[in-house]
């Protein structure tokens, strides 16, 4: 199992290399450059800026330099946030996004699985319909609807939580963003848990367990839930990566200094190193989360062999 994990980790390198190469050239397809502003800079200033950041070199040279920097763990300077390295920006943003994201992922899992299990347990009852209706809303409603509505309800009409801003250590700022971020993931988890559990509950080993006299709730928790969680885990891999790298919408709605905005703003401002850094971070998180999901598989289902 350890050698499997190591081999998979080594396999990440070529994938990340393709990802970096592709995004390096794709982002330069967009017209305009990082120093275009409303007020045009004089050609001399622009030439100096380009030279300072190495943008006057041919593209293959820039690409080579970027890779060389990357090999030394250097993500380069940000073009737009003057005097900041990309690593500093992403690092400080990620510390906020990771806190919110991990809390949201945890809430989604701990809330979604019991909801889904209850719905499957009472399949086609009114509580099943109620939970699935709630899950439908969760999968449909975007963060920019849920966030402001929650802020309106719990920040203004019934002011229990803080609506905007961030102070390290004060968790009352984080409650609404975490709920907003967790809601769609929790809804998906509930739906998938229910659907796969309904199927598992009809299988032979569940009938055997019931036939030998085990009470139904023990069969559900000890026997049926584990195999039923397999599709949930494969969904959670990429979902956690997405939630943890920061959601632009949630951060914008609640005014949080997370890292989600860097991908979008970097792409809009042609801040090439910043975008590349975010894509790289996103890629690493996705691949690592998928790896963890694969490891959790074999724990859930001993028949799965890691090759």
């Amino acid at each position: 199992m350890i050698s499997f994990a190591l081999r998979r980790l080594a396999g990440l390198v070529p994938t990340l290399f393709v990802l970096v190469t592709l995004s390096f050239f794709v982002i330069r397809l967009a017209p305009g450059g990082p120093f275009d502003q409303e007020q045009k800079l004089s050609p001399e200033v622009l030439a100096n800026l380009d030279a300072a950041y190495g943008l006057d070199q041919p593209l293959p040279v820039q690409y080579g330099r970027y890779l060389a920097g990357l090999a030394h763990g250097d993500l380069g300077p940000s073009f737009r946030y003057k005097d900041f390295r990309v690593a500093e920006l992403i690092g400080s943003g990620l510390s906020v996004s990771l806190t919110i994201g991990l809390a949201a992922a945890l809430l989604a899992f701990l809330g979604g699985v019991p909801l889904g299990a209850w719905a499957a347990w009472r399949a086609n009852s009114w509580s099943d319909h109620a939970i699935m209706g709630f899950a439908l809303l969760g999968t449909i409603l975007p963060g920019f609807v849920v966030g402001p509505v929650l802020a309106l309800l719990f920040g203004i009409y019934w002011p229990v939580f803080r609506v905007a801003g961030y102070e390290p250590g004060d968790s009352s700022f984080l409650v609404l963003p975490v709920i907003t971020l967790a809601f769609p993931v929790m809804a998906y988890v509930a739906r998938m848990t229910r659907d796969s559990l309904v199927e598992v509950l009809q299988s032979n080993f569940v009938r055997t367990a019931r036939a030998k006299g085990l009470p139904a709730h023990i069969v559900l928790v000890r026997h049926a839930l584990r195999p039923a969680l397999i599709p949930v885990v494969s969904y959670l891999g990429p979902a956690v990566a997405f939630v943890v790298t920061g959601s632009l919408v949630v951060e914008a709605v609640f005014g949080l200094p997370g890292s989600g905005r860097y991908l979008v703003h970097g792409a809009i401002n042609r801040d090439y190193p910043l975008v590349m850094g975010m894509i790289l971070v996103y890629g690493v998180f996705t691949l690592v989360c998928n790896l963890v999901a694969d490891l959790v598989y074999c724990w859930l289902d001993p028949r799965v062999r890691l090759a």
Binding site: V18, L22, V26, I27, A30, P142, F144, I156, A267, I279
Partner: protein, 268 residues
């Protein structure tokens, strides 16, 4: 037809009809300013759903936004269906190295964040050129469709009627368009119905970022964004477009799920 599907169709027909007829129903146009009613709550005189900060009628603006959202959702869905079905059917039918190459391409594009691709595409077109933007979004959204169609084609490929078609000398394109595509059409339609709400959401997201619909036109996303900034003093500016968007998305999803369930029931 289940009660949910009937409900979904009823909602879509009613909302669609009202949105289309709005210019004749409402005394206000979507960009008319009413200086007597700045940020008025719903049911103030002829402003049924209230007005925004500039005194523009929220009913007229919401209905105009719904027209834009549905039109763009349909347009982008059609583009992604055309590309996705062609790509998937060709890859699945030809198989071998061509298939591997085509699907590897899909995998690589998948690995890039969707938002990133769309922002790059958005910068290639002039601002406000929404049709072009949406063709671009549709062109990115075909990836999942291509995977689904390829999977279906792979299993169809082994069926006798395809062998019979090959044996009778039908050309590859005839087999694809006459035999494969009609057989995947049901699943494709069900899936495409589920893509429409995603595309509507995506347009709203882009408008939320300021990359989508430009003033004086509105989309549900830009209305929600404006409303969220005014929600303390005038909550209806947030709640009206948010409710309408929710209604549309729920209806499209129920319809899509219903179509998919109907297909699965027939297969069992």
């Amino acid at each position: 037809m289940t009660a949910r599907v009937r409900f979904a169709i009823a909602v879509l027909v009613i909302v669609g009809a009202v949105a289309l007829a709005a210019p004749w129903i409402s005394p206000w146009s979507h960009d008319a300013l009413d200086w007597q009613h700045l940020a008025s709550p719903p049911l103030s005189e002829s402003h049924w759903l209230g007005t925004d900060r500039l005194g523009r009628d929220l009913f007229a603006r919401s209905m105009q936004a719904i027209r834009v959202s549905i039109a763009l959702g349909l347009l982008a869905a059609i583009v992604s269906v055309v590309i996705g079905v062609t790509w998937g059917a060709v890859a699945g039918f030809l198989g071998g190295r061509v298939d591997a190459l085509m699907m590897r391409f899909v995998d690589i594009v998948y690995a890039l964040p969707y938002v990133f691709i769309v922002i790059i595409l958005a910068t290639l077109f002039p601002r406000g050129s929404l049709a072009a933007l949406f063709i671009a979004i549709g062109a990115v959204g075909w990836l999942t469709m291509a995977r689904i169609v390829r999977g279906l084609t792979l299993s169809l490929r082994r069926r006798e009627f395809i062998d019979a078609a090959i044996a009778s000398g039908a050309s590859t394109s005839t087999i694809l368009w006459r035999h494969i595509v009609p057989n995947v059409a049901g699943t494709v339609i069900a899936y495409a119905t589920l893509t429409i709400p995603q595309l509507i959401l995506f347009e709203s997201f882009l408008s939320f970022l300021g990359l989508g619909v430009q003033e004086p036109f509105a989309s549900l996303g830009s209305l929600i964004n404006e409303g969220a900034q005014e929600m303390e003093s005038s909550p209806w500016m947030l709640l009206v477009p948010a409710t309408l968007l929710t209604l549309l998305l729920v209806a499209f999803n129920l319809l899509g799920e219903g179509l998919r369930a109907a297909r699965e029931a027939r297969h069992d």
